[in-house]
């Protein structure tokens, strides 16, 4: 059964790696719903956050192909239950509509929107939340004239993760410790393979 999966990839910072990772999806005609690249908790290590809608079996295979890339250190995939995630959205509406119609102000407040810029002609609001939340504000603002809307990619934190600092030390060691469990996604549950 298809579901939303968030793939977290720890990588070196290298030109061309984005393409190497992206073509693993496009080769299989899989659409990337959301993609974010940012620094991670570990110094010099980048973190890709990719959201796709696929079956677990497909996601697992994709992760193995991603991890096979030379500059990829580690890949994880998680269901929505296993992560905390947010997306940010910006909305541009006419300032008149906000000023004159009391209801708009109430809607914005109800949806936790925050004004970023207020000008004579337009106001920009920002919200942060899940897709349904940011989408809902689009819906309710539409009748009052939404001039522009944009939403960022998902950023996600894995609930069970202890971060990448310790792992990175293992990767840097020429002879990694035997106890280090790697590729836990590769098979049934935990500590299946060591690298």
């Amino acid at each position: 059964m298809k579901a939303e999966y968030t793939i977290t990839v720890y990588t070196e910072n290298q030109v061309g790696l984005l393409n190497r990772i992206a073509i693993i999806f496009s080769r299989r005609k899989i659409n990337i719903e959301s993609l974010n690249v940012s620094p991670s908790e570990a110094d010099g290590i980048h973190r890709f956050t990719v959201v796709i809608n696929e079956t677990e079996d497909v996601v697992r295979k994709l992760c193995r192909q991603i991890e096979k890339q030379v500059e990829v250190l580690k890949t994880y995939f998680n269901t929505n239950e296993e992560i905390i995630w947010q997306e940010m959205a910006l909305y541009k509406v006419s300032t008149d509509a906000v000023a004159e119609k009391l209801k708009v102000e109430r809607l914005l407040r109800e949806n936790g929107a925050r004004a970023v810029v207020i000008r004579k002609d337009y106001t920009i609001f920002e919200t942060t939340g899940h897709r349904e939340e940011t989408d809902k504000l689009v819906e309710v603002l539409a009748p009052y004239g939404l001039i522009e809307f944009v939403r960022s990619a998902r950023v996600a934190i894995i609930k069970a993760s202890k971060g990448f600092h310790e792992k990175l030390k293992e990767f840097e060691a020429v002879e990694p410790a035997a106890e280090l469990a790697e590729n836990e996604y590769l098979d049934k549950g935990d500590a299946v393979f060591t690298m």
């Binding site: 061309g16 393409n19 295979k61 192909q65 590729n183």
Partner: protein, 585 residues
């Protein structure tokens, strides 16, 4: 005391064994060639052009240390590099210029990628300041080759050359080998750098070529093998790439395991070994295919369950518990779910397994393979190898060739019917003797690959077996043979058709022979134009002496054998069918 500590702290930790040389000034181009020498490269296949001219200029002074083979087309160059890598076990090295030179490498890169062949390709690129300006012969080689390389990298600053090339060789040959492409802009080739020697790469933190083997899985695998009544081994090129032929043989001999090979696993185990039950897959042998669906434990060693091997997946070995030994974790569970995944280098995992398996002989089970073999002999092989009348068959040509080479030759095949026949019937005593384009199925592979194979194993006889279609795709490489005075035997099996497609059209498209009727030039005259001796035979009586003339000839020789026009390759597992539905006719 404190000063002493300070001094040690200033020392780099885990200082790699750098061969300290006095820093000297080198151009980027010279640094490339120094890297090759440090990596033990002796042969380069290439073709010059504008953007790689500085490297070629430097090569002029390295002529005594690096042999450069001028090919006739970059595709020929990279296939030669593949042939070299496959016959020698070393990394193949290829040069090409920017733009069209680089794009001509793509087929070979894809071929090497899918067949796990270690290559380092160096392409020239326009000056860095011209990147993205649609400059003359500029093409985005890095992005074009990303899906077909294990790793690629563009160098715009020559100071990166030593370390990037060290990485390139390390990545190409370790783990599951593959092709690496390094694109070097012209300014970096010219740029002068302070050269401080070359350090081989032994570790990249984001790249683990092989894992520490988990003993639990080896133990589980051994347990399954010891309990098995009908164990069956499938082996692939992993055994050859892992230099584990001896370890493999010891393993199957101790546990008495009938074994069958994939197209690229061929020659890892001698053909006449008592446990060698033959070839797997679409045109493989009868027994190994049928009994795949009868065995109770299936042990896959260094193979990837290609669709040409498995046929219909949902009817593939469903009754069996599958043990999968592979160095590439992405292959485990990719096509066939493994009950026991043994992730690791088979050079390590096989001896671990051998220690744990009980010495056994599955005599009755092995006899079953022989029963099927007998049926196949009667219904297919006899007529193919020993016909007494009618047109010549491809099988009898290979059979006669075996008789003359005693199975000691390297056989390089192209793609199509002749490839299947040659791989089915050729005899091999030694490993690294079968060189063919397996995964990609690249017509035109054999002639240039045979050239490379000969350079990689100069003491061995190299016979390129090629169809009339494939030969016409890369026959310009006859020029390379002419110029290098190489001794390669070219055996064209001419059936005046694109035979494999014709066979499918006959079997599945109602004999609607759509554009498979291909004409050939006079190959003997063509060879003669390149100074290569040759002859054409279509008479059974003359076949053996013609083959002998070819093999005995001092230098390259082209032998064209006119074979049956509409012969088919059997057995065959039709596409979409299960391996047990294999047809004998």
């Amino acid at each position: 005391m404190s000063t002493a500590i300070e001094t040690t702290q200033n020392e780099p930790k885990d200082a790699p064994a750098i061969i300290e040389v006095e820093a000297k000034e080198l151009t980027g181009s010279q640094a490339v060639l120094e890297a090759f020498i440090a990596e033990g490269v002796d042969t380069i296949f290439g073709y010059p052009g504008g953007a790689i001219m500085p490297i070629y200029d430097a090569l002029y002074d390295y002529n005594d240390q690096l042999k450069h083979i001028l090919v006739r087309h970059e595709q020929g160059g990279i296939h030669a590099g593949q042939g070299y890598a496959r016959s020698s076990g070393k990394v193949g090295v290829v040069f090409a210029t920017s733009g069209p030179g680089a794009t001509n490498l793509v087929t070979g890169l894809a071929d090497a990628m899918i067949d796990s062949t270690p290559l380092v390709c160096v392409t020239g690129q326009v000056f860095a300041h011209l990147l993205g300006t649609d400059a003359f012969q500029e093409t985005d080689v890095i992005n074009i080759t990303t899906p077909v390389t294990k790793w690629n990298y563009q160098i715009t600053d020559a100071t990166e050359i030593p370390s990037v090339l060290a990485k390139a060789f390390y990545i190409a040959k370790t783990g599951r080998p593959g092709p690496v492409l390094i694109d070097i802009t012209k300014n970096a080739q010219i740029q002068k750098i302070e050269y401080k020697g070359y350090t081989k790469c032994t570790h990249i933190r984001s790249y683990r070529p092989k894992p520490i083997v988990r003993k639990t899985y080896v133990e589980e695998a051994a347990k399954l093998i010891n309990e098995a009544k009908k164990p069956f081994v499938l082996f692939g090129q992993g055994v050859i790439l892992g230099n584990a032929e001896k370890e493999f043989k010891a393993f199957i001999e101790k546990a008495g395991l009938p074994s069958a090979w994939t197209l690229l696993g061929l020659s890892a185990l001698p053909t006449d070994h008592y446990l060698n039950t033959g070839m797997l897959g679409m045109h493989g042998n009868y027994g190994p295919n049928v009994l795949t669906n009868e065995c109770d434990v299936l042990i896959a060693v260094g193979m990837r369950f290609d669709d040409r091997v498995t046929g219909r997946l949902d009817k593939y070995a469903k009754q069996a518990k599958i043990i999968h030994l592979d160095i590439d974790p992405a292959e485990i569970d990719k096509n066939v779910k493994a009950a026991v995944p043994v992730w690791g280098d088979c050079k390590e995992t096989l001896p671990m397994l051998t220690r744990l398996v009980e010495a056994k002989q599955h005599t009755d089970w092995l006899a079953k393979f022989n029963e099927y073999k007998k049926q196949e002999e009667e219904q297919v092989i006899q007529a193919e190898l020993h016909p007494t009348s009618g047109e010549l068959t491809m099988g009898e040509v290979i059979h006669q060739l075996n008789e003359l080479t005693n199975g000691d030759a390297i056989i390089v095949t192209d793609v199509g019917q002749h490839q299947m026949v040659a791989c089915r019937y050729a005899r091999f005593n030694e490993t690294k003797s079968n060189i063919t384009s397996g995964g990609l199925g690249t017509m035109g592979f054999a002639l240039p690959a045979a050239i490379g194979a000969k350079f990689g194993a100069q003491h061995r006889t190299v016979v390129a077996v090629i169809g009339d279609g494939g030969f016409q795709m890369t026959l310009q490489e006859l020029g390379t043979i002419m110029q290098t005075k190489l001794n390669v035997k070219i055996l064209i099996l001419n059936n005046r058709f694109l035979g494999m497609v014709r066979q499918w059209q006959q079997l599945f498209n109602d004999k609607r022979y759509s554009f498979v009727d291909i004409q050939s030039p006079d190959y003997i005259m063509l060879a003669k134009a390149y100074g290569i001796e040759g002859q054409s035979v279509n008479d059974r009586i003359l076949l053996q002496s013609a083959l002998k003339t070819m093999l005995d000839h001092d230098g390259s020789y082209l032998l064209e054998v006119m074979v049956g026009k509409e012969n088919n390759v059997f057995p065959m597992v039709p596409q979409g069918c299960s391996v047990s539905e294999i047809r004998l006719k």
